[in-house]
């Protein structure tokens, strides 16, 4: 009936049959429609309720446990502090040297498995750590732990590239080896001949 009165007001044709009584028979189809829509709406609302996670909105406008889910992602890139916990000698070797800021991971890989096994090894003496591999020359290598004495590792930072800060030490390998009179200019390990490893001198 409400709908009817709305329609009545909005139509610009004067209702000619305004005095005719409206019986239930005249609006039966509208009740049927109303019941149908109400049923659909009800199902929709129940389904919708089910779709909202329980912890939604408890700490802010989002699924609260999402924060924990994201925070649970493992840390893969090892901080030097992790390495130094066991390799204390290396820490002292490097302390105060110009290359202290070069990370262990840059020359030795991500060592994710290595660290995990070392942690287990601390409690279980039967866990043996496999030795480090030789670097395969790929900076995106899948090798977990390696030892790189390859000059490519040094040059990945020091090869002269346009854009480097003026005060950063840039190397043109051929010129540099010539100047320094390197004994084996073609060797991959030439850098270490003069500059050392952990205690890298400038």
């Amino acid at each position: 009936m409400v709908l009817f009165s709305i329609g009545g007001r909005m139509t610009d044709k004067a209702p000619t049959q305004g005095t005719v009584m409206t019986s239930f028979n005249d609006t039966r189809h509208l009740w049927a429609l109303g019941a149908f829509l109400a049923a659909v709406g009800l199902v929709g609302m129940v389904v919708r309720r089910e779709m909202i996670p329980d912890d939604f909105g408890t700490t802010g406008p989002y699924r609260a446990s999402a924060l924990d889910d994201i925070a649970a992602q493992p840390s893969l890139f090892q901080a030097d502090a992790t390495c130094h916990a066991c390799h204390e000698a290396v820490k002292h070797e490097r302390a105060g040297k110009s290359h202290e800021a070069v990370r262990c991971a840059h020359c030795h890989g991500l060592a994710v498995d290595h660290v995990a096994m070392a942690r287990r090894g601390a409690e279980d003496a039967t866990v043996a750590l496999p030795p480090a591999a030789e670097w395969d020359g790929d900076f995106l290598t899948k090798a977990d732990l390696y030892i790189s004495k390859d000059r490519a590792t040094c040059l990945s930072c020091h090869e002269a590239v346009v854009g480097m800060p003026a005060d950063f030490k840039k190397i043109d390998v051929a010129v540099h080896l010539e100047e320094q009179g390197a004994s084996e200019p073609l060797s991959r390990e030439t850098c270490f001949e003069c500059h050392g490893g952990h205690d890298t001198a400038p």
């Binding site: 009817f4 139509t11 609006t27 189809h29 049927a32 429609l33």
Partner: protein, 396 residues
């Protein structure tokens, strides 16, 4: 800041290399626009009593319904997680322009469904009485079990249809103006960010709706060897011409303002229009899609001398051109906005696949589906208006 689009060494942000929105997002506003536009045509008859449009009034609501039923399809095909689509209504974000879609669309479709049901109830009830076998059950179900119409009920329904059409006008406008807002509210993108976007989308939506109805009407008449109603085609052409003029003015205003003021985004837009969008914008959208129909439409709209057949052919050609215009406009907005990197230093290649969920083939299916649906509905319900005698008989 200079835009380095034509620079020797363009630079694009790494993640800009893969545009996030595919051709499906071109189709979405295209179809939604027709939904809104077709409905507006039906209200011209039901609310504004343009009697000339009586022959297409029913066709208009049914077309709007069929297009509307398919409007979410391109979105679902585009979503990377289509099974989670209902999250939009489960946990909608009030700050998101996109979250409104579920509610606006549902409301509009509800209004439209009730409208269509009431308009066609006499036909459904009649067929529930005459049909045999399973069809009888189908029509009874469609009538929701109520298979009689008292004269008083017919009068109530007539008024309800009027009321629903009145409600439907703002609903249809919001449905499509809102799509424009989706793009216009993205400040990251200088080609989209504009307060005129909702108006541009709305006018071009109405234009596409009128055009698709003109075409459908002419096509259906020809197929059933029916002479198209001259006044109806004339009225449709007038509406089309008027709204096209409006749409073109808004679209031009948007560009001209940026161009003349040399706003900071102009360098991006100029580079875009002079290279990547040269054909689809200047040639398709402006010349072929806008200027040509604006020149053609006055013939069927205003001339009383030309033959009916000729006028109707021109109206049909103009409608096709307008549909090309609107398609080009959607493409230019959606794709154009992703053709340059947010570095503003280079263009992005826009890949269009033939196959796959978001390919051209799927797009063709999405476009064809509403027409298949319409064909089905036309089998079920009479979209042509009842003869005046039978209608006055029902009113009595």
């Amino acid at each position: 800041m200079e835009f380095h689009a034509l620079h020797d060494a363009p630079f694009i942000f790494p993640n800009d290399a893969h545009p996030a929105w595919s051709i499906m997002i071109v189709l979405y506003p295209y179809i939604t626009g027709m939904v809104a536009g077709a409905f507006v045509v039906s209200t011209m008859y039901h609310v504004f009593h343009r009697e000339a449009l009586r022959p297409v009034a029913r066709l208009a609501v049914v077309t709007s319904l069929c297009l509307g039923a398919c409007a979410t399809l391109p979105l679902l095909l585009h979503l990377h997680q289509p099974l989670r689509a209902f999250n939009v209504v489960a946990t909608p974000s009030p700050t998101s322009a996109m979250a409104g879609f579920g509610f606006i669309y549902s409301f509009y479709m509800l209004v439209l469904l009730i409208d269509v049901w009431l308009i066609f109830r006499p036909a459904i009830v009649e067929r529930a009485g005459t049909a045999t076998g399973a069809w009888r059950g189908v029509y009874r179900a469609l009538a929701l079990g109520v298979v009689e119409i008292t004269p008083r009920a017919a009068e109530i329904d007539r008024r309800l249809v009027h009321a629903l059409s009145v409600i439907g006008i703002p609903a249809a406008c919001v449905l499509h103006g809102y799509v424009g807002f989706l793009f216009g509210a993205i400040k990251a993108n200088p080609w989209w960010s504009s307060s005129l976007m909702p108006v541009i989308f709305l006018t071009s939506a109405i234009v596409s709706g009128i055009a698709v109805l003109t075409l459908l009407y002419l096509f259906l008449c020809q197929r059933s060897d029916m002479e198209p109603d001259a006044e109806c085609v004339r009225s449709l052409s007038r509406l089309l011409w008027m709204f096209l003029l409006l749409a073109v003015v808004f679209e031009a205003m948007d560009i001209l303002h940026v161009a003349y003021e040399r706003e900071e985004e102009w360098h991006v837009i100029r580079a875009l229009l002079s290279t990547k969008l040269r054909f689809s914008y200047l040639t398709l959208q402006i010349v072929i899609g806008s200027l040509l129909p604006l020149l053609l439409l006055p013939l069927p709209a205003f001339s009383r001398r030309l033959g009916a057949g000729f006028r109707h052919s021109i109206a049909g050609v103009a409608a096709v051109l307008v549909l090309v215009q609107v398609a080009a406009m959607r493409w230019n907005v959606v794709v154009g906005g992703q053709l340059f990197s947010k570095s503003f230093r280079g263009f992005v290649e826009y890949p269009v696949d033939w196959f796959g969920r978001e390919g051209l083939l799927a797009a063709a299916v999405v476009l064809a589906l509403p027409m298949v649906l319409l064909w089905g509905v036309m089998k079920l319900l009479p979209v042509w208006p009842p003869s005046p005698e039978s209608e006055s008989g029902a009113k009595a």
